[in-house]
Amino acid sequence: MNTKGLAMTRPPALLGTSGIVFLIVLAVVAVLVPVLNLAVTPDSAVHVPTYVVSLLGKYLTYALLALSVDLIWGYVGILSLGQGAFFALGGYAMGMYLMRQIGTRGVYGDPVLPDFMVFLNWKELPWFWYGFDMFPFAALMVLLAPGLLALVFGWFAFRSRVTGVYLSIITQAMTFALLLAFFRNDMGFGGNNGLTDFKDILGFNIQADGTRLVLFVLSAVALGLGYVLCRFLVRSHFGKVLVAIRDAETRVRFTGYRAENYKLVAFVVSAMLAGIAGALYVPQVGIINPSEFSPANSIEIIVWVAVGGRGTLVGAALGAVLVNYAKTYFTSGILAPYWLFMLGGLFVAVTLFLPKGIVGTYYDWREKRRPHDDIPGAPIAAPGPAE
């Protein structure tokens, strides 16, 4: 009996089949796109222009953002409608570094103060801008700013046992409050114009093709590492407790686990991943402004994850890329005025006809085709209905 037990209790691999496929596709894209950009002449049909490289890079950062949402929504049942706030904070931290790099090349030529501060007649740099001229400090802030906000917010929310739709509403309120705050000029983050006109990053010209390629490859690497991290977490004993909290939180408490601490750790990790995504996004799109905090943005992320398949990780990334590709495609044609209707319709259609999303539905289909031995295999089943 023992031997049988040992043979059957092999833990699931760190990367399942879909995980390996995902990482291979990601690696191929990360290599192929730069090659097609550099080594192929611009008049060739397979040439990838630099603007497309940045566009794809942007999709990859969105995929990482979607992954961060799936970690808490798919595996813990926390439907955060404020994930965009963590993304934006990471973006602002990177933007502040990029602003400080401009130096005397700004319109007003002030060696220390960014243009908008000179315009506002500020005489010296606000204290919270100190240190952002150093990249390591800015990189730390990319993690700490979203992480600390998530820690404080989550500590209060989870300790008070705010769950379900109430939690969703207060996360939405959080990002809306930040939107309003960052709109104000005297907050010191450039008001509604945000931060832009970046010149260089770590000494490299931010507009140069080479820099854009490196940023693209870094986004792919961050997405790959983020995926492996999330897989590692959800497979661990810790991750099993997370899924248990999603399915039966009371049971978890009566089993002796502090559910609020588990949620908090997952929430902070998720916020930091979103922050990294934001930090990679800003240099590729060249601007960060308060609209990134807008509640609609955070809701869009939920749509990406729902389309791809909640609780599958790979699906979240896939959904982000697909929906954003569709967005780029449709908002640049005659259908542009109808994009929001299409997005809304997509969400309704997925909820009604594909409740497990693309990847979740594929997993179900694969499960059905497998010879039936009365032992359902997927160690982490698709989650129940959204809270």
Binding site: M1, G5, S236, K240, F254, T255, Y262, V265, A381
Partner: protein, 268 residues
């Protein structure tokens, strides 16, 4: 909640005194719980000795589930004392997680297992051990833990179902899995709410056997159940609750012969 102010001196004097007074594993004294004017528990008092198994019967609304809620920290009593471990620990000051860690396990009325985890993972999660979040990220299962889980599987007879999802089990199997999860927690006291609801006669008899085996292993058990055949199978001391307090206590025969019990419960 109604007149806590007048009761305060009593409550303060109580903890010190309890140490001398009880050797019981669980000690409830004059516990009252009121929901919107409805007295779910009305000065309920009883004790459970170490190693004892006790059955609790009573009509719907008698306060059986509220009693479990109070003991496990889900509901705070308006007044009264709830002590654990020979009067040393005041349960009214602790939350669910702390009480679970102290060694009180609870099986819910509706079987609650982790449906999207395998049966094996259900037991792994329940198994006594590290409960903190960060260390559990890097936790590995020890050989001793694996053996203990195999033992529990033998006890609850679900060995061949270990790789199925919790949600795919039959109702009776879920009840057993939940009892197995309690065993894995290795509590001093098991509170079991209606373990045989919806079970076949054969399953009911097996469950009685299972609970007796658990009790023989030194665990104290409190079973709430409506099924009289099952209670008879258990062959333990029976306590009948009515309107939030103890109506009668004794062997099943004594309790079922009690006129008031017949009146409020069995006679219906």
């Amino acid at each position: 909640m109604t007149d806590t102010a007048t009761l305060e001196p009593l409550a303060e004097a109580a903890p010190a005194a309890k140490k001398e007074l009880t050797e019981a594993l669980l000690y409830l004294d004059a516990v009252t719980v009121t929901f919107d004017g409805f007295r779910a528990l009305n000065a309920l008092s009883f004790t459970v000795d170490p190693g004892e198994m006790r059955a609790v019967i009573g009509p719907n609304g008698a306060g059986k589930t509220t009693m479990m809620d109070v003991i496990t920290g889900k509901t705070r009593p308006d007044r009264g004392d709830v002590f654990f471990n020979g009067g040393t620990t005041d349960l009214t000051k602790l939350d669910e997680t702390q009480i679970a860690t102290l060694g009180i396990g609870r099986k819910f009325q509706k079987p609650t297992v982790f449906e999207s985890h395998t049966v094996l993972d259900n037991l792994r999660l329940a198994l006594k051990g590290q409960r903190r979040a960060l260390p559990n990220i890097f936790r590995r299962e020890s050989a001793a833990e694996r053996e203990r889980i195999d033992e529990i599987f033998e006890t609850i007879r679900l060995t061949e179902h270990r790789d199925r999802l919790g949600g795919a089990l039959s109702h009776g199997q879920k009840q057993w899995l939940e009892i197995g999860m309690l065993l894995a927690q290795d509590p001093k006291l098991l509170l079991v709410d209606e373990p045989v609801a919806g079970m076949t006669d054969a399953e009911t008899a097996q469950t009685a056997e299972l609970l007796r085996a658990i009790n023989a292993n030194g665990h104290s058990v409190v079973v709430v159940e409506h099924d009289m055949t099952f209670v008879r199978d258990l062959g333990v001391r029976v306590m009948c609750l009515h309107e939030g307090s103890v109506l009668a206590e004794g062997t099943l025969d004594q309790v079922s012969a009690n006129e008031r019990v017949i009146e409020v419960y069995l006679g219906r």
